[in-house]
Amino acid sequence: MFDISSHKKAGSVKEAISLLKENPDAKLIAGGTDVLIKLREGKKQFSHLVDIHGLKELNFIKKDGDNTIVIGSGTVFSQVIESDIINTHIPMLVDAAQSVGGPQIRNIATIGGNICNGVTSADSASPLFALNAVVSVKGSKGSRDIPIADFYLGPGKVDLKHGDVLTAIKISSENHDHAFGCYYKYAMRNAMDIATIGCAVNLKTKNGRLQDYRIAFGVAGPVPMRCPRAENMARGQALSSRLIEDISQAVTKEVTPRTSWRASREFRLNIITELAKRATIKALKRAGEELP
């Protein structure tokens, strides 16, 4: 039984924004896989709902004229997994989407909700960090675009004001074109689990060197994070096993995993090191590179 005080179904983003404005206590619900858990726990702040589940204008994956890939925030993970555009251009996002929950969750949970929930373990978040994704937010005063790294303000906190709706996630051409990535999720189970550590690598190679290199982690800090110093170190370097080893060591100096009853800091660091290697090697394989 859920303690739902009001439930308003929005017919459009515009209507959702005005419904939110009408009720300062209202929260958005899309797939509901996070909101309903909070309601089940008896959290009163989710008892007024504005429902954007199934809004057509939020459910799309397209490639713009400038080669920017735009994913509607209401796109569910199974649609990401089945999308030709995503499979062709950003297979790393398919890795991530496939690792979420189980089939029932992936059929209803949205990529927008995964981001707006603001947790460090969100499987789509670290790939989007490595892709320099930009999120589009619509509010009563118009729209704004926010780089994903700025969108995360803290644990469970994102840059959404009351009345804002995250509408789309954009990945511009320079971030995916000729780039190859991999998302590696480490969890205690193969399904129905949250990441102990998630690692996303997005890279470009040229003439046997790393032309661009990005590495992002989930659960390695309070919010998803990149490792800029390790990335700087790696950029321009010739591909070698040594380099992979160096990257895997460099990231440990930037991440800040903590000890919880779920896993110790030491254990997480061990996994971070290992995933940095594995995700990088897999991304290089996708780039058609073989380590000398």
């Binding site: 480490y186 189970r189 779920r262 896993a263 996994i271 290992e274």
Partner: protein, 769 residues
């Protein structure tokens, strides 16, 4: 011949179409719901409680606290009534308690019009405590000045020793080698799909009807009567379809409370429907064990001596208490009957969730330690692990020295050979020699098991069956053996069809149980039902068969010796001709004005035998050192459970048991803060029950023996499959890595610590040499 065939389950259609009705599906328009107010501390005493605000909330019908409940303490274990004092369960529980003994203990209960109101009301109850230091670890519980968790009672709930065979000390002295090890098992949970749920109402002025998801309807009736001090005949327990129990419903958990509430509320229906979180904390768990094992072995591979010392943690209330350690310990004498053996076990109270019955009842803990120790002994003398088992395990004709009974059927050696062949033991062993260093290592492991087919001679073993011929020539069967999803109704139908020579489809088992009408049986536990009920069913069916043939003889004037039933028809055996179909006979028996009667038969039977069962698991694994993960490549369990009544259903038991065993081996553990008693993971996200993707394809096979004490040659199978996978996996990890990791589960955390301690993982995530 219905026995030995993989007929469809009698309830298959009802279940796959969603028509089967479970306890929650029985709806009363005015039914109220009740929710427990649970303690937020693990150890202490309530100094004050104020329920006024909760009582005044709209929609709340009543709030009861420890002040309102009967003062007689009662036991909750679902055991038959023991006529002697030494076998009685500890009576240590009240319906609600002032003394808090674990985090989640039940202090008060709110009855409201729905769950939301009840949850709101719970937040309005104010309570203050005198807090005591929680006692979680054995050393703290056993400390001389430790507080008594139950005032006036020792923290040691039970203790016993036994020895069998030659003088154990002398045997150790003579042994060429003595191998020692210490082992730990985790607190795990049953995780049956249907959580605990019961409701009760009064359908007249003095009779309480309880509808409950239980394994033990008749025992639940008795205990409710004891708690409320009302005659048993005024209580009626109905068991609809049940969504699994695994022992967690072999305990009265909700039934006395719903009965109490409906009495208090003038007979109005009241339901308690536990959430998963409550079910994990507030029902029962598997006893965690601490076990030391010493094995004396000769250079030729003979195990000559064994000593085991076990501590079992039963948690805040005894529930099944020391019975679990005693039952688990007793399986040594059927698995390795020729080794001089001594055993000592203690069961302790602790400020942790209550442990009770769980699939295989102590054996997963004891046999885990035993089979790890056996592996260590084999390695000590450099003998092949399979050969070592073959040399030492039980054979038909061995005497089980604890029971003094001969082992009449035993196919364990053949199980070992089947398992060895399937896994490709010799070749794989060779192939894996080159995978003993580096980041990816491979190994093989095995473990044996022994189990029993009931509880005799510790408890009474009684089963009842009633069969009635219907007017259309089918029969209805009523048994007290309790179907909880394991398939016992199907097996009963097969047995009846076999003995009556009826088509399986013409044998109809009455599904729901109702203690007002169902023959007496103590219920679903101890893997007892198919074994114990077999003799009741056989007697009733044989009796009915004779009555049918007698009536046929009266109808036809043919000598009864020349009549038989073949495929449900009456046949003249001398002419090899069908005389009439069963419907014709039935109609005559019911409606002929002068002859016949309704043809029925009934039998109640007590088993005074207990057949041991055997089995083994072989496993082939890959250990990824840097990821701290174990991958099971292949696994097979081979069982001797006598005659297999239904091969597909039996395979299902093995697969389910192996699944549960893999969970206990690799990932499942209820995490309790050793200082505060706080339970971290009482949900299925954080309690790592495996998913389908975590479990490899499991293979199974049988070695079919014939057990002469069963009417159909069958022995136990329900629980045993859970026993052998964890030690087999631990032994495979030893084979792969050279490390004895003696603590379950072998989760990434456990492996990480072990690998780091032994230098397999270095600070820099290096080469893993």
């Amino acid at each position: 011949m219905a026995v030995g065939k993989s007929v469809n389950r009698v309830d298959a259609m009802a279940k796959v179409t969603g028509r089967a009705k479970y306890t929650e599906d029985f709806y009363h328009p005015d039914m109220l719901v009740a929710k427990y107010f649970r303690s937020s501390i693990a150890h202490g005493r309530v100094t004050a409680i104020n329920t006024k605000k909760a009582e005044n909330l709209d929609g709340v019908h009543a709030v009861f606290t420890y002040k309102d409940v009967p003062e007689n303490k009662f036991p909750t274990a679902g055991h038959p009534l023991a006529l002697t004092e030494d076998h009685k369960d500890a009576a240590d529980r009240l319906l609600l308690t002032r003394d808090v003994r674990f985090m989640g203990d039940e202090i008060a209960i709110v009855v409201a019009q729905n769950e939301l109101v009840a949850n709101e009301a719970l937040k309005l109850i104010e309570v203050s405590y005198d807090e005591y230091q929680p006692l979680i670890l054995p050393e703290d519980i056993l400390e001389e000045n430790a507080r008594q968790i139950h005032e006036g009672s020792s923290n040691i709930v039970g203790e016993h020793t036994y020895t069998f065979g030659n003088d154990v000390d002398q045997a150790f002295e003579k042994a060429d080698h003595v191998v020692e090890g210490s082992f730990r098992t985790a607190m795990v949970q049953h995780c049956h799909i249907e959580n605990h749920i019961s409701h009760a109402y009064m359908d007249d002025l003095d009779k309480i009807v309880i509808v409950s998801s239980t394994q033990i309807p008749h025992i639940a009736r008795r205990i409710v009567g004891e708690v409320l001090n009302i005659p048993l005949s005024r209580i009626r327990v109905i068991k609809p379809f049940v969504g699994g129990g695994f022992g967690n419903k072999q305990d009265v958990i909700l039934e006395p409370m719903v009965a109490f509430l409906t009495l208090k509320l003038n007979g109005r229906a009241v339901q308690i429907n536990l959430s998963r979180e409550e079910c994990i904390i507030g029902t029962r768990t598997r006893h965690p064990f601490y076990i030391d094992v010493k094995t004396g072995v000769m250079n030729d591979g003979t195990i000559v001596a064994r000593h085991m010392d076990a501590i079992s943690i039963t948690g805040a209330y005894a529930s099944h208490g020391h019975s679990v350690a005693a039952a688990g310990g007793s399986k040594q004498s059927s698995l390795y009957p020729r080794a001089a053996t001594s055993f000592h076990a203690r069961t302790l109270y602790a400020n942790t969730p209550v442990a009770g019955a769980m699939r295989a009842y102590g054996s997963p803990q004891i046999i885990y330690a035993l089979e790890c120790a056996t592996e260590d002994a084999a390695r000590k003398i450099g003998m092949d692990s399979v050969e070592f088992r073959l040399k030492n395990v039980a054979r038909q004709g061995d005497i089980n020295l604890l029971s003094g009974k001969e082992i009449l059927s035993c196919g364990l050696a053949d199980c070992l050979i089947k398992g060895r062949d399937f896994i490709g033991w010799g070749e794989k062993k060779k192939e894996y020699e080159k995978f003993k260093t580096g980041p990816v290592r491979k190994g093989l492991g095995l473990a044996c098991l022994s189990y029993a087919s009931g509880t005799y001679p510790v408890c009474v073993e009684i089963a009842g069956a009633r069969i009635a011929l219907n007017q259309d020539g089918t029969v209805h069967v009523m048994v007290g053996a309790t179907e909880i999803g394991q398939g016992s109704d199907t097996v009963v139908a097969q047995m009846v069809a076999q003995t009556l020579s009826f088509p399986y489809e013409n044998v109809l088992v009455v599904q729901a149980q109702d203690t007002d009408v169902t023959p007496f049986d103590t219920g679903a536990y101890a893997s007892r039902q198919a074994y114990v009920v077999s003799n009741a069913v056989f007697r009733a069916a044989t009796d009915l068969r004779e009555k049918i043939l007698d009536h046929a003889a009266v109808m036809t004037d043919i000598d009864v010796a020349g009549l038989d039933i073949v495929d449900g028809n009456i046949v003249d055996t001398r002419k090899s001709a069908q005389v009439m179909d069963m419907k014709t006979l039935a109609i005559d028996s019911f409606y002929h004005k002068e002859r016949g009667c309704q043809l029925t038969a009934e039998a109640s039977f007590k088993a005074t035998t207990n057949a041991p069962v055997f089995g083994c698991t072989f496993v082939d694994i890959t250990v990824n050192i840097p990821l701290c993960k174990i991958k099971i490549n292949r696994m097979i369990s081979v069982h001797d459970s006598g005659v297999i009544i239904n091969p597909v259903q039996s395979g299902g038991q093995i697969h389910g048991g192996a699944f549960m065993g893999i969970g206990a081996a690799l990932s499942e553990e209820l995490l309790i803060d050793p200082k505060t008693g706080y339970i971290y993971n009482n949900n299925l996200l954080d309690y790592k029950f495996p998913t389908f993707t975590d479990v490899p394809p499991i293979h199974h096979d049988f070695v079919e023996t014939f057990e002469p004490t069963s009417a159909y040659g069958n022995k136990a199978l329900g629980e045993p499959p859970v026993i052998s996978p964890p030690p087999a996996i631990r032994n495979a990890v030893l084979d792969a890595t050279g490390l004895c990791i003696n603590s379950l589960p072998l989760s990434p955390h456990t492996l990480f610590t072990a690998f780091k301690d032994h230098g397999l993982i270095d600070e820099k995530g290096g080469d893993n040499v």
